[in-house]
């Protein structure tokens, strides 16, 4: 399969000498894959993502995105990547929603009409056409996130990078947002990288999971079902298991045995019925 992102082992030193070393296993994202990057706060998720986007360059190690070094040649690949970083507020540029979503198309040389058409289409797809003339700073947190996502997807990129897209949302909005991402990515066949520290939600959108430990090491990789049941690993990574997983672990310790490893409520009900 075509590899979109390839990172072997890299080290970054911030100006204040904080050293982040993300080594261990290779970080690879293939075409069409949905990858979650799970780690505690301060683990280095944002650092990794900034390297992928060419905002930082490693002091050691090599990073390849679409086959090029993103720091040096970001211009070559920028049209193929859509991004929403941690602080949405600072990424919404246009004064109104429509103009903000039109920003990328206009800057990539599309005409005024084309851009407008593209923006309207994506807003429609997101179900937020009614927001189009609103001024950005009068939107709620959840709405801002949707607009930022629309702005990132308006040019139909091949890779979508989201840094903690759920922080600050309540559970209901989180689920809504996940559904939106899943649906859009399905439709557009986009590869996705999402960083998060929310273990409960990971299983709902990721095909593959990477763990970053609080000591800035990247090592475990696997499907959510595999990784979430490695409780030793999770402990090492100072992460907690999701509630369901914890429940089944406790039950197993009490002497029950199950055939499957459930990761959500429905599966848990099935397993418990037996």
């Amino acid at each position: 399969m075509e590899k979109i992102i390839e990172i072997s082992c890299f080290e970054h030193v911030y100006p204040d000498k904080t050293k982040i070393e993300l080594c261990g296993i290779e970080f690879i994202v293939c075409k069409g894959e949905k990858v979650a990057l799970l780690g505690p706060s301060g683990g280095g998720k944002t650092t990794l993502i900034k390297h992928v986007l060419g905002l930082l360059t490693p002091s050691h190690g090599e990073i390849r995105v679409f086959g090029v070094d993103p720091y040096k040649e970001y211009n070559k690949i920028k049209k193929r990547i859509g991004v929403v970083l941690q602080n949405v507020d600072e990424q919404l540029i246009g004064p109104t929603v429509l103009e903000d979503v039109m920003f990328s198309p206009l800057n990539y040389g599309h005409s005024q009409e084309e851009s407008k058409e593209m923006a309207l289409k994506i807003l429609e797809q997101f179900g937020i056409s009614d927001l189009k003339d609103k001024i950005i700073h009068y939107l709620s947190g959840g709405e801002k996130r949707k607009v930022a996502l629309a702005g990132a997807l308006v040019l139909h990129p091949e890779l979508l990078v989201l840094d903690e897209p759920f922080s600050g949302l309540d559970i209901r909005s989180e689920k809504e947002f996940i559904n939106l991402i899943n649906q859009i990515c399905e439709e557009m066949r986009i590869s996705v990288v999402i960083s998060t520290h929310n273990v409960e939600l990971v299983s709902e959108f990721a095909d593959t999971m990477y763990l970053i430990s609080s000591k800035n090491r990247l090592s475990t990789k696997g499907s959510p079902r595999e990784v979430l049941y490695m409780d030793e690993e999770l402990k090492n990574y100072s992460l907690e298991e999701p509630t369901i997983v914890k429940l089944f672990h406790s039950l197993k310790n009490e002497g029950f045995s199950f055939e499957t490893n459930p990761i959500n409520v429905e599966e848990a009900v099935e397993a418990l019925k037996k």
Partner: protein, 209 residues
């Protein structure tokens, strides 16, 4: 009055003045400006000012607030008037009317027209970089305004600054503003990252119609 409030009225207000095209409003302002600057007859100036007040009365925008805003430049004007030997009433009135005409018309403008529209109208004759800076400043204003609000609230909740220890208070305010400056600079860095990632090509910032 805070900029955020002004912007709110401009954006969500719904008076007849909100519906007048921006270019026309700017044209009117230009006329008022020129007449205020070149007319020397205080009666004519007084009539213009009365006319502006009349508009204000019936426009449906918050009258008292607008009026208060428009008085601000008088502080400076009075400083100049105090420095005139043998000041006569006509001279004083002349200057006061001039200043008030201009500030009132701008106050009415800003309460009925959002910055976005004004900047767009101005983008015709300002260089690209200036237009970009204007739009970006407008956006920045609202982002860092939140930060400032939070900071001021914190200081209040944690005891506030007192007038009785001027040096200590000044240092606290210095720390506060220093923090605010650092936060803002970081905000600007993040904004630039955002711009870059979204393909900013240092030409277009915002659609022009």
């Amino acid at each position: 009055m805070k900029i955020a409030d002004l912007d709110y009225y401009a954006t969500f207000g719904n008076t007849f003045l909100h519906k007048v095209p921006v270019k026309l409003k700017l044209f009117d302002i230009a006329i008022i400006l020129i007449s205020a600057l070149f007319i020397k007859n205080i009666y004519t100036l007084g009539v213009i000012y009365a006319f502006l007040l009349l508009i204000l009365m019936f426009s449906g925008i918050p009258r008292l607030k607008t009026f208060k805003i428009s008085l601000y430049p008088l502080i400076f004007a009075s400083l100049f008037l105090f420095s005139v030997n043998n000041l006569t009433l006509p001279t004083a009135l002349n200057l006061i009317f001039k200043v008030l005409c201009i500030s009132t018309s701008f106050a009415i403008l800003i309460l009925t027209t959002s910055y976005i529209q004004i900047f767009k109208a101005m983008s015709g004759f300002l260089p690209d970089i200036m237009v970009n800076i204007l739009f970006n400043t407008y956006r920045s204003l609202f982002i860092i305004n939140n930060t400032l609000d939070n900071l001021l609230t914190t200081v209040r909740l944690r005891g506030g600054v007192s007038i009785f220890r001027p040096v200590y208070s000044l240092k606290t305010i210095g720390n506060l503003v220093g923090f605010f400056v650092i936060k803002s600079i970081e905000t600007s860095e993040k904004m630039y990252e955002g711009l870059k990632l979204r393909g900013y090509s240092d030409k277009v910032f915002c659609s022009r119609d």
